[in-house]
Symmetry: C2
Subunit: 317 residues, 2 copies
């Protein structure tokens, strides 16, 4: 029995969807697309020691490798459908593989996304997941569609994952509970697919936060040829991050990355509707600033930290 | 400019197809499926030192990483459409990346398959390509569809890639021309997408030869619950391999792998039609044996080499 057989055993569904005509076991998978939908495809690689600390539990690695890809579908306003898994492993450690597959499966089941194929190879630990999903024609949420006057909004809280990484790698001092919380957010980000239908209906531009708020908002502004002003006092922080000095938590939120919250822009008239819908789904939702006409100009009302921690990076683009 | 920007620059098409609504540069690609087709998806990883010798020229690595995936589409009877590229690189070596991208682009253009997205990361050299293609509903060529009495056929010649690997890694002695030919076949396999329409119309079962003839035919027989008899004198060899003793070239053909020829089964009544169509396309096409009703029994009329070189492996399955 190969490693991939072992992984596949964790993905035996009771009710495989009709859309999967041929799954793992032939030269390729064969899939049936629903009528009246476009296909949305994203791929992300996850390397040991680069994208996650080597000591990360395999359950978390499996979870997160799929979560960051689900987050890309959420950022496009697409409904998850299928995924493939290509994994390179230095050795056939069955306990490791079981835990990895269990973490991935739990998230896959939660989102109704199905493993349709993959490749298991020998090599340094590396995971590449490709997700596929559906969107109504012309309705994908693009980075280039922000409008002047839009409210800039984010889901969840910012900076927790970066603080978690600082706990693991640099011994950042927090209370035991706060440290545990941040490491948990680093290892188990919540892809915001619960908001897909609402954002698909109301948002103008959308992406997920993987590189930090300033860099990622910079991508939206560049693609949309607009500017923005952020209000630092509006940035949503967890109780854990509120233990840190303002400058430090701003640094984590603005430039830390790995949050996998959705960052989107919204016509002001849609704000209440989206806010209520997000609240119904238990997702924190915050307006943190506004899109303006100053092309390429991203301002933060807190000069020191913006200059120090990422604003220059954006300007350099 | 990131490495992926550099790679992407090599994939600027003059006429991107209408099917690509959003390409590289957003969180995901958005694609339009043709009506009345199923989607075929395959993924393969290619690691330095495992799947190719570290000294392989980057042009060949780029070519082959896509070629083995195109070969999976050919094996399914599917028409190529799009692909993604996830690449991990130990360093940003622009000359290496240029050559890699050039090799991949040349093959992509030849087959009309379009790069729609990807991920470039730091890490040990590893390439994961996922291809997507189309097939008419219910017409994918499966491993499980061989019929008793079918002729077993292969495209091209067998064992050249294994001999090429033996030249590179073990100093196998061949004439200079023959050695060059075999290394060329190792580095630049020809995916047999030129046969897709013919095989889609006439073949029963199909797969590509990546692990060697015996192991791969074993997969078809196992999936189809049938047996087969191969005639060793019918196996197609290149002039280069004819320089080797019979036992050695049989070993390369039967167990060597990496040929990426298509292996398929055909009702005898279709043989002449397929043979003529393959000849028109300049593809060598050979009947090497016959499917029979002896479940799980793969016979070769050359006992010694079959026993020694892979027949036991098949029996063990």
């Amino acid at each position: 029995m190969s490693e991939f057989d072992l992984i596949r055993d964790y993905f035996h569904w009771q009710n495989p969807p009709d859309s999967v005509r041929v799954s793992v076991g032939d030269d390729a998978a064969v899939l049936s697309m629903p009528a009246g939908r476009e296909l949305v495809v994203s791929v992300d690689t996850f390397n040991a020691g680069i994208h996650f600390p080597r000591a990360t539990p395999p359950h978390a690695i499996g979870y997160k490798a799929l979560a960051v890809n689900l987050s890309d579908l959420a950022a496009m306003g697409a409904e998850p459908a299928w995924f493939t898994l290509a994994i390179s492993l230095p050795e056939a450690d069955r306990a490791w593989i079981s835990e990895f597959a269990r973490g991935m499966r739990e998230l896959a089941q939660q989102h109704g996304i199905f493993l349709i194929g993959g490749d298991t190879t020998r090599g340094p630990l590396s995971i590449t997941v490709q997700v596929m999903g559906f969107v109504r024609p012309g309705r994908a949420l693009l980075r280039s569609n922000a409008k002047q006057g839009d409210l800039i909004c984010v889901s969840g809280t910012l900076g927790d994952a970066a603080a978690g990484l600082a706990v693991v790698q640099q011994g950042l001092e927090l209370s035991v509970d706060a440290a545990e919380y941040c490491v948990q957010r680093l290892n188990y980000p919540t892809p915001r697919n619960a908001l897909t239908d609402i954002l698909g209906e109301h948002a103008n531009a959308c992406m997920d936060i993987s590189d930090g708020l300033l860099a990622d908002l910079g991508h939206i502004l560049k693609a949309s040829q607009l500017g923005a002003k952020l209000e630092h006092a509006r940035l949503p922080f967890s109780a854990a991050l509120l233990q840190l000095p303002l400058e430090q938590r701003l640094e984590f939120a603005l430039t830390g990355g790995d949050d996998y919250e959705v960052l989107f822009t919204l016509p002001p008239a849609r704000f209440e509707t989206v806010k209520n819908a997000a609240a119904e789904r238990g997702v924190l939702f915050t307006n943190i600033g506004k899109v303006n006409e100053n092309i390429g100009d991203l301002q933060l009302d807190h000069g020191l930290s913006a200059k120090k921690q990422g604003y220059d990076h954006f300007s350099a683009n």
